[in-house]
Symmetry: C2
Subunit: 427 residues, 2 copies
């Protein structure tokens, strides 16, 4: 980890640059797989699964029996249950009432949220089965009231899905689980195949191929949760922070992947040195040590003189995860505008939000916290607006519309009002 | 207009297909202009403005003096004022309180909305100056609290901007107006130039070039309001509807552009015939008759036997605008899930929402109402989540996190909790 002291804001851009992803180079292969899946449906999905996952599948959908009997150890069942309750409580609270305003007498305007009917969830496979992402996506989808929830996840070389993934899917009420991964999964949910339904919006994490495929899907008329990049954490801490805790959080971010990034911003030279010592100490005990080591090469400690500078760096970087341990927490809370999820104080590790505090762990990376929200209940809904104008209301509002329409040169727009006003006068 | 009676749902896809746009073919020219603007900044903007708008600009920004003295006739001023008040009232009501939940004792989770700091508004030029779009975008941007609002709109061949556009910008408190249109405007707001600030999110309507440019901008890290397509209206009406009013609404949609689309779905053969007669009658009086006539060629009347079938068609088509005039309004309101903005009853013309009822006229076209919201206050904000866990809270939640992290093979995630729990026990 490099240490930088009091950087000039002019250097922020290069100093805080993120590991590059090469999404654009993959576009050709993505376009080809999408084309094949669109044309050949299940047959294409099967052949890509044979090619990439090394398994020839008979049926793509996980059978009802397998889904209903999948299980995990009792202790994990209880843990999943507690996480589920917390996530449900937080996302249910996001259900807001319709907004209704009579903007003028007789002019009623309102707004209602409706579920997106068909959504697709992608869950990566690989060595670590990310079953927690199912909770983060399926729970709000269910609360929103999405009527069709499709889950795709790649099979192992035996053609099987990790039981923790199946168990979580079942406890979240998902009945349609498909053994498909990668670009072909995203393509299948975009166009639909004989087995796999087409959806209106795609959610979930994935490697660079999945990310490129989701980006491509947006140009085929499907929405996505957000553009994705490697995971990242910025820790902002002063002398009130426990260096050992901070180090453990930085390592928990670093173990995600070699392209993860960790930034420590601190007003304390002492803390900076202590954290470095603790990282070296804790690193050796880690199962994923070599991954974490690579990630730490993208990582930096930035020592600043003041809180003001710290805030400037945070808002510039717009971290996915922000851990904030400061004696002056209120100052930071009043100034920070760009961050995905914020973890406050010595006893709030990032892993709490990753799994079980109740907040969503699907968050904007790559600086996108400047303009994108993480996944919330709203991600599974869309807003419709309504208006109902009475005769009397149109009498009041009509002339305004007529004048503006005429000024924009849209006389049929004007006429739609004039006709109605005239008919009222005739009555 | 073609008339179809009781179509088979299997034919919906072709029956309800929209006029194609050829966005993808423009990608080469978009990429080239973006590249030039990125490299050469203002110089590139100036040279494209000379090429496309036929005017050599000295300064790109509209001067303070011009902006502050721009005016429109008194009557239009009052109309704009009324529209502004209604739009403000409806969008201010969308400001919701932060959501806070203690998911477990000592585990506080909350969610706050923060303004997107830098936003860019695009307003097309052309024969009809769409000043109403400024109200629809600048008002929610101001209510959200966006700190930098940039407006780009193309100049005429004299290098000037229509005074109605400048007047609306001023009354909405916009101080940065730039005389730039088309692809080069979107590129300038994406990368920033010497004159034009880079923004985080782009809003506003535009022709196919602007649409393609906005799509391209999303791959450069900038968000957009929504993907766009030609404007469209579906009218669902029964015998309680006034045929003359319906015809006037259909024509007001049709005059937007030759690629606009209008669909009438009705349970009444009588109404269908009457509307057709009224359209023929009213069409002749229109200034934009030839545009409307072309749009009507993309348009259809669909006669159905039942409300159930009508709802099926509406939800399949997912219209940008839906006018609903029915004796059984509650039935439709309970069943419709896919529509941008809904206009209810005989006295609610679409033009009311286009200008002045208070709802936003920036709406999802092209079937995107299935998964995208129109512009709301939320479009100018993003959601941040927060959590703060006490020592006692972590004692309760810690084991859950440890078990789940271990099951996902992420032992540094587990360790971030274990360390903290252990330190508590040590105290």
């Amino acid at each position: 980890m490099k240490t930088i002291i009091n950087p000039d804001p002019k250097t922020f851009k290069s100093l805080l640059s993120r590991p590059q992803n090469s999404e654009r180079e993959m576009e050709k292969v993505v376009a080809e797989i999408f084309q094949e899946v669109k044309k050949k449906g299940d047959a294409a999905v099967r052949s890509y699964t044979a090619l990439f996952d090394g398994v020839q599948l008979e049926t793509i959908q996980v059978s009802k029996e397998i889904l209903e009997t999948a299980t995990v150890p009792k202790k994990l069942q209880s843990a999943i249950q507690i996480a589920k309750q917390n996530i449900e409580a937080f996302h249910r609270a996001q259900n807001t009432a319709p907004i209704k305003v009579e903007t003028m007498p007789g002019v009623q305007c309102w707004q209602e949220k409706k579920p997106i009917e068909k959504v697709g969830l992608y869950i990566p496979g690989g060595t670590a089965p990310l079953f927690s992402s199912i909770l983060m996506l399926a729970i709000p989808a269910q609360i929103a009231g999405c009527s069709e929830i499709v889950l795709c996840t790649p099979p192992n070389s035996e053609g099987e899905i990790n039981p923790a993934i199946l168990y979580c899917a079942r406890v979240c009420g998902i009945t349609k689980v498909f053994k498909v991964g990668g670009i072909q999964a995203i393509a299948a949910m975009t166009y639909g195949t004989e087995s796999i339904p087409a959806v209106y919006k795609l959610f979930g994490p994935g490697n660079q191929y999945v990310t490129a495929a989701k980006q491509y899907a947006t140009r085929q008329g499907v929405a996505i949760d957000m553009p994705a990049g490697p995971s990242e954490l910025l820790v902002c801490a002063d002398d009130s922070a426990n260096a050992s805790f901070i180090a453990s959080d930085m390592l928990s971010q670093a173990e995600h992947g070699a392209d993860s990034q960790v930034i420590l911003v601190t007003t304390s030279q002492t803390l900076s040195a202590e954290v470095q010592t603790e990282i070296d100490l804790q690193l050796n005990a880690l199962a994923r040590k070599s991954i974490a080591e690579q990630a730490l090469e993208n990582s930096k400690t930035i020592i600043v003189d003041s809180k003001e500078e710290a805030v400037q760096i945070i808002n510039f970087y717009a971290p996915e995860h922000l851990i904030l341990v400061s004696e002056d927490e209120p100052y930071y809370l009043s100034k920070i505008v760009n961050a995905g999820s914020v973890f406050l104080g010595n006893y709030t590790p990032e892993s709490a939000g990753d799994y079980a505090s109740g907040t969503n762990h699907t968050l904007p990376t790559n600086g996108y916290a400047k303009q994108y929200s993480g996944v919330t209940l709203d991600s599974f809904m869309k807003t419709m607006s309504f208006q109902k104008i009475s005769k009397q209301g149109l009498e009041k509002l009509g002339e305004t519309i007529e004048i503006m329409a005429a000024a924009e040169g849209l006389f049929a727009h004007k006429n739609a009002v004039s006709l109605r006003l005239k008919s009222q006068n005739d009555e």
